[in-house]
């Protein structure tokens, strides 16, 4: 797994995933559908990505296609890093 996905997975496991039997989401699982993150959780995730990767995420980039799964986040972060997002 890429370091981006590994980092985000660890961040989510440490801050949102909890209790006995909580299952870590698959790479393509929607965080919304699997109740992993709610609206406050997404805001905190965005703050974490900005701090970790040193870029700003605009309001218009806060959409499910960029943030709602590990695969989506990896692709989004890579695009931002390459300056093409």
């Amino acid at each position: 797994m890429s370091t981006i996905k590994a980092d985000v997975r660890r961040y989510i496991e440490e801050n949102f995933l909890l209790g006995a039997g909580a299952v870590s989401p698959g790479d393509d699982d929607s965080f919304l559908e699997h109740q992993v993150l709610d609206s406050t959780g997404f805001l905190e995730l965005v703050a974490h990505l900005e701090e970790t990767y040193g870029f700003k995420i605009g309001d218009d980039e806060m959409v499910p296609e960029n943030l709602d799964s590990l695969n989506a986040i990896e692709a989004f972060v890579q695009r931002k890093q390459q300056g093409v997002a």
Partner: protein
């Protein structure tokens, strides 16, 4: 059909049943890109009702719905009502412990749920001695979600408007969630009173980004489908830009919100989206800051803005007429039609206009009580004064001016709202104290720009115990709905107590 002449009844699902016959090809529900007609929705309701009926579910039985906002939840509600049974809606944030409590407390005979929530319901069922029958969407070991069907098997429905229609669980001072009992008559009385000022129309497109398992959202489902409008069910509250795009694309005409949602939308450029169809926007659940009210008036001037106040126990208790919102934006109005209300002091004396006291509400819309409430225990709810009516002590303290306009000034107890959701400190404290390393805990609120109020916990650990802030927060997230988990935890050597050993929450800093 004229909206002004619209009188729903005799049961909560009666109007929806009539719409299915009158406007079968009209779009009832839109979820993502899928339009579901009244005909298709009716067939889904048939499917669920037939399956439950065949399994022996009937009048008076409690059915828990643990589902995302969507077509199956909406169909499930109406199927349960058609059978004369009682809906017990729980949001997808509900964790195993609370679900187990509700299943046991209600003696539920059926659970309608989904695969993605199996972590919660499988654990809850293992803890429920008389486990209900389970139907679940998706791939699970439970019975599969029933298929839609054109035919409805014959069955009894509710017999009287006094029959129970819903149990809505709400937190309370004891820290244990209680089910607010709502019969068909209560819900229809609330519906009529609200429709009298809300004026929902058959051509409305209602954008529902709120949880439809709580009173505010639930009534939009009921009232919207009852009048034959279109419901757009959104799970995009977490993505406000996407939500605005959807409101514009679907030409939404009615949009209810809570302060946290309005704050997230106001942070964006509303003028970049075509919201010209929006004719009615509302706020409830917590007070909208006057600055946000002013911004909404300025940036959405063509929409009527209604500031409202209510509780699960009566659905709604007051609204501010639109023409007053610019002159008294901090008021929630002077009540609703068909209701009596007044302010009381601590000794139960009614107060005149221009006083401050606890708001008491009375009417046919007020619940008769909490499910399984022990006899003789003091309750917010009491019968009368007239037959079919009940009285509710709201626990909210209001100031009224000389004309009776109401302004909320606080609570009589420790409850506060974070993100528009109720937080009872005692419920959170009980959860924290489940951790073996915790000796005592105290929970209070602190101002927060985004949340309104954030949850803060003070924890005293046992000798030799080590726990981190994160472990405590994680435990609360596993145990409680997310808005109840502390945002911060402070470790202290002692908690402020009264002489008799009771926690003095007000002295927490």
């Amino acid at each position: 059909m004229s909206a002004l002449a619209f009188l729903p009844g005799p049961f909560v699902h009666s109007a929806f049943d009539a719409r299915c016959l009158e406007v079968p090809d009209k779009t009832a529900v839109i979820v993502a890109d899928r339009d579901v007609s009244y005909r298709e929705l009716n067939e889904r309701v048939n499917g669920v009702a037939n399956a439950l009926h065949a399994a022996g579910i009937g009048p008076g039985d409690r059915v828990v719905l643990l589902l995302d906002s969507g077509v199956d939840y909406v169909a499930g509600l109406h199927a349960v009502w058609r059978l004369g049974a009682v809906v017990v809606p729980l949001g997808p944030q509900t964790k195993a412990a609370k679900l187990a409590h509700v299943l046991a407390d209600t003696g539920a005979r059926a659970l309608l749920t989904q695969a993605s929530l199996a972590t919660a319901w499988a654990a809850a069922l293992a803890d429920t001695p008389q486990a209900p029958l389970v139907w679940a969407q998706g791939d699970t070991d439970a019975q599969p979600w029933p298929q839609p069907t054109t035919t409805a098997t014959a069955h009894a429905g509710p017999a009287n408007p006094g029959d129970l229609a819903a149990l809505i669980y709400t937190s309370g001072t004891t820290g244990v969630p209680k089910g607010v009992m709502l019969n068909h008559a209560n819900m229809l009385a609330a519906w009529r009173a609200v429709q009298a000022y809300l004026h929902l129309r058959p051509d409305d497109v209602i954008g529902l980004a709120l949880p439809p398992t709580f009173s505010y959202g639930l009534y939009h489902v009921l009232m919207g489908l009852g009048i034959g409008a279109t419901l757009v069910l959104e799970n995009t509250a977490a993505f406000p830009m996407r939500l605005l795009q959807r409101l514009a694309a679907q030409r939404v005409t009615v949009f209810p919100g809570v302060p946290a949602l309005w704050a997230s939308l106001l942070a964006l450029d509303l003028s970049a989206h075509n919201l010209s169809a929006l004719r009615l926007i509302t706020n409830a659940a917590a007070a909208l800051p006057a600055a946000h009210t002013a911004q909404l008036r300025e940036r959405l001037p063509h929409a009527r803005l209604l500031l409202m106040y209510g509780l699960t126990e009566c659905m709604r208790a007051s609204y501010l007429p639109h023409e007053e919102v610019d002159t008294r934006p901090e008021s929630v109005g002077r009540g609703i039609p068909h209701q009596e209300h007044w302010l009381e002091d601590e000794s139960g004396q009614r107060l005149p206009h221009g006083s401050t006291g606890e708001l008491v509400v009375c009417g046919a819309h007020v619940s008769a009580g909490y499910w399984n409430a022990p006899a003789g225990q003091p309750s917010r709810l009491s019968p009368g004064p007239r037959p079919g009516e009940n009285t509710l002590r709201t626990g909210d303290v209001f100031r009224s001016d000389a004309d009776g306009w109401l302004y909320c000034v606080g609570r009589t107890d420790d409850m506060f709202k974070s993100r528009g959701e109720k937080v009872y400190p005692l419920e959170v404290e009980h959860a924290i104290c489940e951790l073996p390393g915790v000796r005592e805990a105290a929970v209070t609120s602190t101002p927060d720009e985004r949340l309104g109020l954030a949850v803060k916990a003070f924890v005293r650990l046992r000798e030799g115990a080590t726990l981190s802030e994160r472990e405590i927060i994680r435990h609360c997230l596993a145990r409680l709905e997310s808005w109840m988990a502390p945002k911060t935890v402070a470790f202290v050597d002692e908690l402020p107590l009264t002489e008799s050993g009771k926690l003095r929450r007000r002295d927490l800093a």
